[in-house]
């Protein structure tokens, strides 16, 4: 009985694999004052696009492998693969949504994505 309980507790941890903690951005394209890329949230001005190399990090700082991103609502934030292993985000419409993070085809987490009016970011 105790052995079964131990296995039952262990199974969810095995299934979920490594956890996602935050994103790390590099080679961010030029988009002055209209894009704010943070580890667990992005803010984009409505209408603009940005490209970046993005690593998804585990709590221990190691990178998740074969990472992919998907918008929960393409009418708010568009997400597409870009050139040279970069990813492209663009503010399709005002509002809030999430960007889902996958590793090797499995969902590992999400970050908040906010699209705001251009005047809100450009005045920062």
């Amino acid at each position: 009985m105790n052995r079964l309980l131990f296995l039952a507790l262990l199974l969810p941890a095995c299934g979920s694999g490594p956890k996602f903690e935050q994103l790390d951005y590099s080679r961010v394209s030029t988009a002055p004052n209209v894009v704010d890329l943070e580890p667990t949230q992005i803010r984009l001005a409505h209408g603009v696009a940005v490209a970046a190399d993005i690593d998804a990090l585990r709590p221990n700082g190691k990178k998740l492998e074969s990472v992919a991103f998907q918008s929960s609502d393409e009418s708010v934030v568009g997400v597409a693969r870009g050139p040279d292993s970069r990813w492209v985000f663009f503010g399709a419409g005002l509002g809030r949504t999430q960007i889902q993070i996958f590793s090797k085809g499995k969902r590992k987490g999400q970050i908040e994505a906010l699209v705001v009016r251009q005047s809100e970011l450009s005045s920062d």
């Binding site: 394209s29 209408g47 603009v48 490209a51 597409a80 870009g82 663009f90 503010g91 399709a92 251009q118």
Partner: protein
């Protein structure tokens, strides 16, 4: 033959297949990611960016709200220079709408146009287009000179109108204009076509004002026609 081919063959092949690896054309800008060139095209002759037809003199610094324009994309270092290899689409329909093969600027701001592989694959590159409201219309002669305000009876004069933004930058894009004259017996409009070009004809001595309008902006030219 072999030496000659080695000397000119590669260049000939590149010319035949249109490899885009040289400097940008005047109407092109490099994308933000440096992967290709975005070229601006005019929908018709009312676009001030294309004074000599449909080829733009340069990629514009801004387009006017409500105007139409074209943008195409060519990937750098692509051997087969196929303009259909990528589609260009706006990031946000609130700023730029697709109307068939052309775009319409809908509201002022910075708006991304993205070039994507036709199969819905990766985004190759993107460019940001500045959209601004016209705050002032300017009328010049068709060659760009200031308008001659005194005309002689029988004289024809071709006028060109364009819009500028709040800092005086010329805004591109095709749009409709409404021309009118205060006295068609003095200065007549040669055509009623709603374009940026208008030929006026001095009919008889006297004063007359020619007015041009487009979506909220107006400009007037006060003519004085004299006898020959």
């Amino acid at each position: 033959m072999g030496a000659t081919w080695r000397a000119v063959g590669p260049g000939l092949l590149l010319a035949l297949f249109g490899l885009h690896c040289g400097p940008l054309d005047d109407d092109e800008v490099s994308g933000d990611l440096g992967q290709g060139a975005f070229a601006y095209g005019c929908v018709d002759s009312s676009d001030p960016a294309c004074r000599d037809g449909f080829d733009a003199d340069e990629f514009p610094n801004g387009v006017s709200t409500g105007s139409r324009f074209e943008v195409s994309f060519t990937e750098f270092d692509r051997v087969f220079d196929d303009p259909d290899a990528a589609r260009v689409f706006p990031a946000a329909p609130a700023f730029i709408a697709e109307e068939g093969t052309t775009f319409r600027a809908r509201s002022a701001g910075l708006a991304a146009l993205l070039a994507q592989q036709l199969n819905g694959g990766r985004v190759i590159d993107f460019v940001h287009v500045r959209i601004a409201d016209i705050v002032e219309l300017r009328v010049v002669e068709s060659d760009g000179d200031p308008v001659s305000l005194t005309l002689t009876e029988g004289e024809l004069l071709e006028l060109r109108v364009f819009g500028v933004d709040d800092v005086g930058t010329m805004l591109s894009g095709s749009r409709s204009y409404d021309w009118s004259t205060s006295d068609s017996l003095v200065v007549a409009l040669d055509t009623l076509s709603p374009t940026a070009l208008m030929t006026v004809r001095a009919e008889a001595a006297g004063p007359a004002t020619v007015t041009v309008e487009t979506e909220g902006a107006t400009a007037s030219v006060d003519f004085s026609v004299v006898a020959p």
